[in-house]
Assembly symmetry: C2
Homo-oligomer: 544 residues x 2
């Protein structure tokens, strides 16, 4: 029997060896994902680390092990593909961000968030591009065109605020949290829109007309993408609300439809050459505001956690992927003969990132403070420093954009392109690991009062905190609200009723109450009634 089996095995091996390498890769990758989740969970007490850094380090270690076992010939299990990233990994993360965002805080701070996310990113983009032109032209690092310099600006203007959000406490510093969170999303979208606009223009000879077209197309992309997201998710409504209300409710159909419609919105945006990120973000917001309230209770629980889980896995996937891909020996071979130049480029880029962010956080905070009357709504210097720090990390969006720009035409062998790819990897690794590890101590120094409360609260909170912990308010019956019943809920309500005027949020509320809710349903801004079935049932799960 044993001989027969070994015989069979041998034959199978020789037959399937072509597919088998990919099966081994997938096994390794899935096992590493599991390991990241478990280790990330065990390290949660250690507030220096978080899931992103853990995944990145595990990915790097795996890359080293593979590099050693294959004698330096290969280090990547899966190739980083920007299609995989933009088509499958990014949509769930951004959709979940929109779905879990607390609309109340988001729309109350809408102007400030847009100021930071859109205008700020543009400022950062201009400074990094200008700096790159200034420094790199002297360094003789290969043939970079004007489009490449602008792309560098867009690539390094894309922040990754996951680490900071894991440290900031939404209950204690709601303003700060909503600003960092909202800015992060709008920044992602702005960078990608900017990048796409750059790629679709012939920028070899710039004049005023082309510059105007550029600005025009930027605003067109921004507004059209937002509108598409809102329209698709509102058209998705008739299905759950009308069909399922007339007939009987079906959880699996509802969940499937919500996921598919969300994905459809993203793909439609891609179809019309718009920004899928913005579209799917606003689709998430509208869905959680209207659609979510028209489905069965088990669909609500399922969608809430299913979207969060998808986003959580996609995030870990990305960091693991970036970590494993970073050591790909092919890319480093080209720059091996000029290591000093590569280090220099990375250092310059890091400096430009620091400068570019400082150049808009402090002036724009000053502008924003001018419009605020009450002192507790203003952004203090320490908070400004925190916001500045929060956006210094560069992550997967930068990586994906860099790959798209510098490997798309197939000329990675070019010296300049190879240096830009390795520099991007260096900046992403350095900023995520070094800046990321320093975030927690820095926040403790800048916002000292948060230390004890944040630790106490974090011990109680249950979901991984990347994008999942929603902003304050709204009362979707979320766990975070129910878990901290004695903290800040009255405050947020008081804040709402004390200062609803002079904000976008105020007008939005009026419009929503008058026109939208009668048509599309949704609970709107009515707080959760204590003792209602929804609240009770959510409570009961918690107490299990």
């Amino acid at each position: 029997m044993a001989i027969e089996l070994s015989n069979l095995m041998e034959r199978s091996l020789s037959m399937l060896s072509s597919d088998h390498k990919s099966v081994v890769s997938m096994n390794l990758f899935v096992a590493l994902l599991c390991a990241c989740i478990v280790i990330g969970h065990l390290l949660e007490e250690n507030r220096w680390m978080n899931e992103s850094i853990t995944a990145l380090i595990i990915g790097l270690c795996t890359g080293i092990v593979i590099l050693l076992t294959t004698n330096g010939t290969s280090s990547h299990v899966l190739m980083f593909s920007e299609d995989l990233f933009f088509i499958y990994l990014l949509p769930p993360i951004i959709f979940n961000a929109g779905f879990q965002v607390k609309k109340k805080q988001f729309f109350r701070n809408f102007m400030t968030i847009m100021l930071f996310g859109a205008v700020g990113t543009l400022i950062s983009f201009v400074i990094i591009s200008a700096g790159a032109v200034h420094f790199f032209k002297q360094m003789n690092i290969g043939t970079l065109k004007i489009g490449d310099y602008l792309a560098i600006g867009a690539i390094f203007a894309a922040t990754d605020s996951v680490c900071t959000l894991q440290v900031l406490n939404q209950d204690e510093t709601p303003l700060l949290y909503s600003l960092v969170f909202g800015e992060g999303v709008v920044n992602d979208a702005t960078s990608v829109v900017l990048f796409n606009a750059i790629q679709s223009f012939d920028l070899s000879h710039i004049n005023l007309s082309i510059a105007l077209k550029f600005v025009g197309s930027f605003f067109y992309l921004f507004i059209a993408s937002t509108m598409l997201g809102v329209i698709v998710s509102l058209y998705a409504l008739p299905f759950p609300s009308v069909c399922f209300r007339l007939y009987r409710h079906s959880t699996d159909r509802e969940v499937a439809l919500m996921i598919l419609m969300a994905y459809l919105s993203y793909m439609l945006a891609e179809l019309f050459y718009l920004s899928g990120i913005l579209t799917v973000f606003f689709c998430g917001i509208v869905m959680s505001h209207y659609t979510w309230h028209n489905v069965t209770e088990s669909s609500r629980v399922t969608t809430k956690h299913a979207f969060a889980t998808l986003s959580f896995v996609a995030e870990i996937f990305i960091f693991l992927y970036v970590g494993m891909d970073a050591l790909d020996i092919e890319k480093w071979r080209v720059v091996r003969d000029s290591p000093g130049k590569s280090v220099g480029v990375s250092a310059i880029l890091l400096g430009l990132v620091l400068l570019g962010r400082a150049a808009f956080v402090f002036p724009l905070s000053f502008l924003s403070n001018l419009t605020k009357k009450s002192s507790h709504e203003k952004i203090g210097l320490k908070q400004q420093l925190t916001i500045w720090w929060a956006g210094l990390m560069r992550g997967a969006v930068s990586m994906a954009l860099a790959y798209k720009q510098f490997t798309s035409s197939g000329h990675t062998k070019l010296h300049g392109n190879a240096i830009m790819i390795t520099s991007t990897i260096t900046v992403v690794l350095f900023s995520t690991v070094v800046f990321g590890l320093m975030t927690q101590p820095l926040v403790r120094i800048l916002l000292p009062s948060s230390k004890n409360l944040s630790r106490m609260l974090s011990d109680e909170s249950s979901t991984p905190k990347s994008f999942i912990v929603p902003l304050l308010g709204n009362g979707q019956g979320s766990e975070a609200d129910l878990k901290t019943p004695n903290v800040t809920r009255p405050t947020s309500l008081r804040m709402l009723f004390a200062t609803p005027s002079h904000t976008v949020h105020h007008y939005w509320r009026k419009f929503d109450d008058a026109f939208m809710r009668p048509v599309f349903g949704g609970r709107g801004f009515v707080p959760v009634v204590p003792g209602s079935p929804l609240e009770q049932s959510v409570h009961q799960w918690q107490q299990e």
Copy 2:
């Protein structure tokens, strides 16, 4: 502005046209998926139709539209790839089948299910292979080797009982439902194991030694795959039960870990050249028996519905896919000059399918009845007819196996291979649509008492019924149980306590209570306590 935008659009179009075709395809496909869900829901009242047939017909119509608009040059939006099917679509369906199966009924009827699923499939395989050799050798349809004939047997032994399960009522005919459901799963696994065994053997010259090896490798694959699934899911336990119990619970981590571990079990089976289907099926059973009881309540709700939704979408995806791919003009071009032969082959195969299934259902039912003492446990003639009919449909597994066998070596242009592919498509379409539409009337004639009750119950039940409606018993607090509180729960409990002896289930219960539950946790066979928090909260969602 308008001119600028059209300019931009044109430039983008020319730039992105290479990727854009796939974006259009994905949009079309996702939109069709949404349409299938909504139309399937609207047609639910019409009990002749179901989601599978709807998806198949929508797919066919789309194929025709594309064929007409492209002037007959192309009819498929996405190519059917058996890799996509076996790596991404099949695992969630089979895992969900194991996860939602009511273990009590499954293990009580374990011997009968294995008899039908394994021995029955083997009998069916032998008859179809022998018939194929007998008829096709006379018909001169190209060069088919002995391995091809055996593969045909395995391909057409794979049943697709989804349609029947949508018609049968689990509360009224628990024995019949559990037999058809259980047989369907074991049959899928057996066919794939058989097919893989055939592919890995050199069958050009058969002798006794090779036949023995073949049988040996079959049993090895069967047992090893089952063990792997059990082991992986038990090793997955320490994470949720120990880690998450020691620290705090985290829904998203738990859900992510359960999904990843399930997928890991499938990939590990593929890594070791075992049957991923069997592995992931038993992984699902063990996870729902132990792991599920160690996680938070919101994780339970989420996993239950998330797995069901994944499986539901994957099923619709497959049928849509098969429908759209069926009209691919390339395949039909080869057989166009001999249409009569193609029809003849399809008819012979359909006849062999009918015969092969009859050849094991009636004898094995007779055998099974010999071991039963009480008359209500025996399988009556009308029930035997229903079981026979239930397995006549051929579906995606047959398609995928046929593609693997007859297109893998790249010689699709061979006359024999092309005829086999088109015949498989014909058999799948004919059996699913024609037999599928006839199932409901037939079941009403054979089991007339079920008519009213089944309609009444189906109006109340909420989940789509493909693989999702679980077998009877066990009481995971599933919706189906809670929705029909006045029907059959007492009966199933009475049945359990009246006849637990002389079954595999009895010994399993003893073993489980004595060894497994103390180590791995899980609620075991304790019925749901009315008024417990779990039951209450589930009830409350229903009443919303």
